[in-house]
Symmetry: C2
Subunit: 240 residues, 2 copies
């Protein structure tokens, strides 16, 4: 309709179109979002992120039109790191070591960042980045699996789905502090990697330090420390 277009039309992909204060706010928002999502998961409120970033909700929504887009932006670098993990593993001359390292690193990332798994799993349909990286990582891992099997270290009946299994299982490991989560995750990875081995050593491998994961911290995390079962108090109704 309007035949005249403005002379100074900006490249629509230009990121510098933001005013200086707006850019500052945007960065602050992203920073806060990353921290908060990592610490408390993906379910934190948009209001809270806005409050923590010292901006209003409208500002937040003007920068990221939907929560989905905020999550995507916040975890973009994590996704990149995830992809690079697979690349590093493929670059390792020892296939089995590469395989193990990749698994351990991904598990650690998952454990450190509470929201990462959720962001990865829910995989908002529109955020093509996520899907792309995921497909790419899958592909790389298939190659990795093949090589590890060929090297004779990975058991032949290892299925590609076992990797999904491991990731999902690791996703179940969440504790209130990142440290406990990492420790637990590390032990889980070590245990599973051991059972993936084709020829397990007769004396089982030493395994990393025993997981300091506390029962009360993770399972019954709603009760206060209390007196750790006063022996005679709680029992008595225990049928065995």
């Amino acid at each position: 309709m309007t035949a005249r277009t403005p002379l100074l039309v900006r490249d629509p992909a230009e990121p510098q179109a933001l005013r200086s204060d707006a850019l500052i706010n945007r960065n602050r928002i992203l920073e806060v979002a990353r921290e908060t999502f990592a610490a408390r998961g993906i379910d934190v409120t948009m209001r809270e992120i806005a409050r923590r970033a010292g901006v209003g909700v409208a500002t937040l929504y003007r920068r990221f039109p939907t929560k989905e887009s905020l999550v995507t932006a916040a975890f973009a670098d994590q996704m990149a790191a995830c992809a690079s993990v697979v690349d590093d593993a493929l670059a390792d001359p020892d296939p089995w070591r590469g395989f193990c390292t990749a698994v351990e690193r991904i598990c650690a990332m998952q454990a450190v960042d509470k929201g990462f798994t959720a962001a990865f799993v829910s995989a908002f349909p529109d955020s093509i980045d996520f899907e792309g990286v995921r497909a790419c990582a899958e592909e790389g891992f298939a190659e990795l699996t093949e090589r590890a099997k060929a090297s004779g270290h990975l058991r032949a009946d290892f299925a590609q789905e076992d990797l999904t299994l491991l990731i999902m299982a690791n996703g179940g490991i969440i504790a209130d502090t990142a440290e406990t989560a990492v420790a637990a995750s590390r032990r889980l990875a070590a245990l599973l990697l051991q059972s993936f081995l084709a020829h397990p050593a007769d004396p089982p491998a030493p395994l990393p330090p025993a997981a300091p994961i506390g029962l009360h911290n993770v399972v019954g995390n709603l009760q206060e420390p209390s007196q750790a079962v006063p022996a005679g108090q709680v029992s008595g109704r225990c049928p065995r």
Copy 2:
């Protein structure tokens, strides 16, 4: 203060104080709640449970004053079953077999019932039943662990926390259909049990059938089947 107490005071624990129709409704509610929680997790709405049970919300709330109490009641028998699993395991003359069976059965229960884990984990503070059973099961498992170690089958550095680890990891295994969840859970249990073994066989144990767990079903369960990466479309930005 009031010195006079009513003559016909009822035993507060008497369960027969319900009118016949009220009792029928109560049972129907419990039945529906069990089914729905198992199939769709603990997050189903009180409205929906009431609707499915063919009663009004008020009726539901009169019977179970809070959602918490409904959950507790609905999972009471599951908790009992959980305890009996440990008892059975302790009754087995072969400690290692008992250990394995207990682990497998608990994992299966967890996989079949989506809400079970959540109910068990969240462990509402007031529902003492849960806490009691949990403590009891823990105690029994400690005994089980000890015996399995003494028999030489369970590796010496197995920690009690590894059990929590397993349960939490298994909790991460959730799929849209109960069958896939059970299959995946079974494989996870088999893998972990193998790495718990003190003297793993040189050729790794055959393991149960490969898990038919599908990547798209569990990880990217929001996207439609689509054309499974049209090869040329998405790639091109895959760095390796």
